[in-house]
């Protein structure tokens, strides 16, 4: 495949040569002279007062340099959070523990084995208190998790209530009135959207160095948000941002779990400074269950009201979301992301309430989709149940209620406007490419043979591309980490004197292929080969400004910034080329590594000559500053709103409840596509995580707060053998929000898939009378639902 720069073309990734040969550099691969290793003693109980904590024996153990407890680090304050509603996490347990896995003490030793050994030498006594685990009980305040908080319910989101300045209408009366109508069909389902563990395959790792001579930290961390971490360290230690350099080298997956600033990152930095030696900590997989954020964890009742012929009249959600014990980065704000897409692709009044509740469990925060998979799951599951109730095809009922193409931008009751969409077109394409009619025929035949074959449909709309200034007002910013408030995108494009191009971007990719996609953007804009372009990211010393990678925002916000910076560089280069060619800048066009006068290809000058000229004041035009670079920040006027519809076919073993996925088709629309290869890869991975939630994954605490699924033996991730190949298609509805017309695709696959799978399995067993099965649809759940329905 040619490695030329073509927007809308798939080129091999720039990232891959190192990674496929084992030369990718991840944090745990790094070592330093005098490196110390860290192990944390973690709470084995969910809620207790610490009555004794004795580290003296541990301090005497071989190789141990220091052991810290709360007293050693109390002066640093709690872990900073971006939306500090609830109780902030103490860096080390402050006289009490509030979840299994909470860090109680920290050992620094010469080897990682010695650090771990020393945990055996720490004695801790707990006065155990009743753990608050069950969400409904927690919401009732029967037992409070934190004495100093008024209630376990630390915040409640309502559909019209979050953005008071807009004076939005409460649509609840409309929904309630619809439910009273004589011709109303009301369908309600109580459903769990279970807690998940993100499980990036690379465990988190942090390596901190402090040089007292330079007065600077250098911190390598497996993070999606190097600038936020740098800001948090600077704020915590009272330093200037330029005195903290954070580097995120290769990062082995994130999915939101590395979009937090963690207490361990602060603690390892502290230890490096205090002990005068480099310090590294790498999480173990079992440790991660109590030290890296979880996601989801909702229970709630969704109700849809509509007419007998399929017209939606309103939707209501009443849910509780589990925050865990302590608030970290965005914790409380996660359900808000779901709120904005609460109405999905449909035009109808919404009543939506999610109560945020603390429990004695690990903190929840952004996990791929973050609030949006939950919101879409409730909506799309109950739509499916409604369609079944009135006997209408699931595609037809959806199409009947979609926003129509001429209604965009479509302003929803939550105040935001859907930027663009053609929802029915995506459905029509899906019906065609999947041979939906044929699938239904095959299902009918299978059913006639007594087989349980089901077909599930699921639509979604996503909100992403966080960057609009309005979001900063409601906490979507890095203000508490001392960084500029709004999530502007950032791109710096520099043509070097030798005509190679350096692009410095503010993202924090964890596998999304930014080095390739950004090279395509810049290569296309400048007309230079992508091989001459090097894209840098993840080093706070090089980037003027960085927000990180999350919320499917990179391409539409940071990508646009780079696109605009490229344009500025091209305009400047055109002036130089015009000067060299004695032509007018307006007539200069770029391509094939050179600039030429439009209509006169023979009158050309190479990028090499332009670059050389730009860096030599005596050859550049008088009215042009020397150098050839531009930096652009970009703040979009709205978020972007990708969408799509998924379709799954499954077969259930009537004897065991075992589910086999037969087919999986999608039509996704993320606006214009730069690399179809990378976009498809994002969707495929997203679908696997959605299917993971639907079928396999479940973070389970028992009622004492013990984590029962802390290792991959029990937290069952999908393997290659559990999944089918995916049949992906797309429609392209450009976004009007940014000049490239792009929308973002990191989370869409996950947001679209979990409910599609559940809809399919419920369809398979619906003839038995099953109406709903809670995820994950392990064989036992499916079998139990069938048993209950048969009884």
């Amino acid at each position: 495949m040619a490695t030329t720069s073509v927007m809308g073309g798939s080129i091999r990734r720039r990232e891959d040569p190192a990674l496929i040969q084992g030369y990718g550099e991840y944090v745990d691969d790094l070592t330093r002279t005098g490196l110390l290793h860290v192990a944390f003693l973690r709470s084995t109980v969910a809620r207790a007062k610490i009555t004794r904590l004795d580290t003296s024996a541990a301090k005497e153990m071989p190789g141990v340099i220091a052991v810290y407890t709360h007293e050693d680090v109390a002066h640093l304050g709690p872990l900073l959070a971006q939306v500090p509603i609830g109780k902030l996490r103490p860096l080390l347990a402050a006289g009490e523990v509030n979840h299994v896995g909470e860090a109680v003490a920290m050992v620094m030793a010469e080897t990682r084995y010695q650090a771990q050994d020393a945990l055996d030498g720490i004695e801790v006594d707990y006065d155990i208190l009743p753990a608050v685990i069950d969400l409904k009980k927690a919401a009732s305040d029967e037992t409070k998790v934190h004495d100093e908080l008024e209630s376990n319910v630390i915040h409640t989101w309502t559909y019209h209530g979050y953005w008071a300045a807009l004076g939005l209408e409460d649509q609840t009366p409309q929904v309630d009135a619809a439910m009273e109508r004589d011709d109303a069909v009301v369908v309600s389902l109580e459903m769990t959207n279970q807690r998940l563990i993100p499980v990036a395959i690379e465990p988190r790792s942090v390596l901190a160095e402090y040089n007292p001579g330079y007065g600077c930290f250098t911190v390598h961390s497996s993070t999606q948000v190097p600038h936020a971490l740098g800001g948090a360290i600077a704020t915590t230690f009272g330093m200037r941002s330029t005195e903290v350099r954070v580097i995120a080298p290769e990062v082995g997956g994130g999915f939101g779990s590395k979009l937090n600033v963690y207490n361990d990152e602060i603690l390892v930095s502290f230890a490096a400074k205090a002990l005068g030696r480099p310090v590294k900590w790498t999480e173990t997989r079992r440790e991660a269950a109590g030290s890296t954020i979880h996601g989801r964890g909702w229970i709630g009742t969704a109700s849809l009201v509509g007419t007998k012929d399929g017209q939606f009249l309103g939707y209501k959600l009443d849910a509780i979301a589990d925050m865990g014990a302590y608030t970290q980065n965005f914790t409380v704000a996660i359900p808000l992301l779901g709120l904005w897409i609460a109405s999905g692709q449909y035009k109808m009044p919404i009543s939506w309430t999610v109560a945020c509740v603390v429990t004695n469990t690990m903190t929840t925060d952004a996990y791929r989709g973050a609030g949006r998979p939950e919101a879409i799951y409730y909506l799309e599951r109950v739509i499916d149940a409604y369609a079944r109730e009135i006997g209408m095809d699931p595609f037809e009922v959806r199409k009947k209620n979609f926003w129509q193409p001429d209604e965009f931008p479509a302003t929803m009751g939550c105040g935001f406007s859907l930027d663009s969409g053609n929802y029915a077109a995506a459905v029509d394409k899906l019906i065609e490419v999947s041979d939906y009619a044929g699938m239904r025929d095959r299902q009918e035949k299978a059913r006639a043979e007594g087989r349980l074959v089901g077909i599930g449909v699921g639509s979604y709309v996503e909100v992403c591309g966080f960057g609009p200034a309005v979001l900063a007002e409601i906490g979507f910013s890095w203000t508490n980490y001392g960084l500029p408030a709004s999530f502007n995108g950032s791109g710096l494009v520099r043509v070097n004197p030798d005509a190679t191009v350096t692009v410095v971007i503010g993202t924090g990719p964890t596998g999304q292929g930014h080095e390739t996609t950004w090279a395509q953007i810049v290569g296309d804009g400048l007309g230079v080969p992508v091989d001459d372009i090097r894209v840098l990211h993840g080093d706070t010393r090089e980037h003027p400004m960085g927000i990180g990678t999350f919320g499917s925002r990179s391409i539409s916000v940071d990508g646009t910034a780079t696109f605009e910076a490229t344009k500025k560089v091209r305009e400047k280069a055109a002036k130089i080329a015009a000067h060299l060619l004695e032509a007018s800048a307006e007539d200069i066009v770029f391509g094939d590594g050179a600039a030429h006068v439009a209509g006169s290809p023979e009158k050309s000058v190479t990028w090499k000559a332009i670059a050389k000229s730009a860096y030599q004041a005596h050859t550049s035009p008088e009215d042009v500053d020397s150098g050839l670079e531009a930096h652009t920040a970009f703040s979009p006027g709205n978020a972007t709103w990708p969408f799509g519809t998924h379709l799954a076919m499954v077969e259930v073993d009537p004897d065991t409840g075992d589910v086999k996925i037969l087919e999986y088709h999608t039509v996704d629309d993320c606006g214009n596509v730069i690399s179809p290869m990378i976009v498809n890869g994002q969707i495929q991975g997203g679908i696997a995580q959605g299917i993971g939630q639907a079928m396999f994954e479940d973070a389970i605490y028992d009622q004492e707060g013990n984590m029962l699924t802390g290792s991959l033996m029990d937290y069952t991730l999908p393997t290659a053998a559990d999944l089918p190949s995916f049949d992906l298609h797309r429609t392209v509805t450009p976004s009007p929000i940014n000049p490239m017309g792009v929308k973002g695709i990191g989370e869409a696959g996950t947001i679209g898939s979990a409910h599609t799978m559940v809809n399919a399995v419920v369809d398979a067993v619906a003839p038995l009378g099953v109406k709903h099965i809670d995820m994950p649809l392990r064989p036992k759940r499916v079998w139990e639902a069938m048993q209950e329905a048969r009884a």
């Binding site: 050994d117 065991t656 086999k660 069952t716 053998a721 559990d722 064989p779 139990e784």
Partner: protein, 286 residues
């Protein structure tokens, strides 16, 4: 992630191994079960006796009236060995459904038996195949019936000074066949068994003359389902006979729930997989 310290010996002979074994020691063959436990510090033996370098233990042998599977025969071998396919098909199937490629390349059939995990594939298959466990120590050799080898969760009948050096399985005669089937934790055949069953049958003139059926995953150990075997003997092995026999799967069994199944579900699955294993064994018997 990081084991506690231990001493390590890699004896060149069984005699050396017996000398090294003591109260605080643990025998390691492939290490697939032991090493994760040690890394999670759930188990910390003082001495690990690695029998991996003892020659002569890695073979499947034809010993006249039986075949012998040595202590170091790995799952990958058990899954593909022709002698095992002929005489202990259930054990071969169990091996092919154990773990993944890498695990099968290191883990051993005997090691898995000695580990006695409640949800392992090997113990039930060994019981059905009428295996005899050959336990050797400095003081001699004793043979233990497979049905009494798994004593409790993670507890076998081996003494701490003994090594499971081999298992012996009677050769299959005409009309004999065996099979193993399970539901895995992620569905299908994946991973450990939520519930599984192995069956061995001997058919003669269209009648089931003898049978042995064993369960895994449902209680604290793999166990012989005696009632099933008795119920199928003397029948024609029809679907109806299989169903009637499978209904006796839980006689004398205390079913325990875990993350993957309630007592009711596992009880049901036991019957389903007993029936499936029996049907496959009968088909295998020709």
């Amino acid at each position: 992630m990081y084991s506690r310290s231990f001493d390590y010996v890699a004896p060149a002979s069984l005699e050396e191994a017996f000398t090294a074994l003591g109260d605080d020691s643990k025998v390691m063959a492939g290490g697939m079960s032991l090493i994760p436990l040690m890394k999670m510090r759930l188990f910390s033996p003082g001495t690990v006796v690695d029998i991996g370098r003892i020659s002569g233990l890695d073979t499947v042998e034809d010993a006249g009236d039986h075949i012998s599977i040595g202590a170091l025969v790995r799952h990958a071998t058990t899954a593909s060995d022709a002698l095992i396919a002929t005489h202990a098909a259930a054990l071969g199937m169990a091996a092919s459904l154990t773990g993944d490629v890498q695990v099968r390349n290191r883990g051993t059939t005997c090691g898995s038996l000695a580990h006695a995990d409640v949800a392992a594939d090997q113990p039930a298959a060994a019981i059905a195949c009428r295996a005899t466990m050959v336990a050797q120590s400095a003081s001699g050799t004793r043979e233990i019936g497979s049905e009494s080898f798994c004593v409790d969760a993670m507890t076998s009948a081996l003494r701490s000074d003994e090594i499971l050096v081999a298992i012996k399985i009677p050769k299959a005669g005409p009309g004999e066949g065996s099979a193993y089937d399970k539901l895995g934790r992620r569905g299908g055949h994946s991973d450990y068994a939520v519930a599984g069953a192995a069956a061995w049958v001997k058919k003669s003139n269209g009648t089931v003359e003898d049978a042995r059926v064993a369960l895994t995953g449902v209680g604290t150990r793999a166990m012989l389902a005696e009632g099933v075997g008795q119920a199928i003997i003397g029948t024609d092995g029809s679907d109806a006979a299989i169903k009637a026999a499978a209904d006796k799967a839980l006689e004398g069994v205390t079913v325990l729930e875990d993350l993957y199944g309630s007592v009711e579900y596992k009880s049901h699955l036991a019957k389903v997989f007993v029936a499936r294993a029996l049907k496959a064994a009968l088909a295998n018997a020709g």
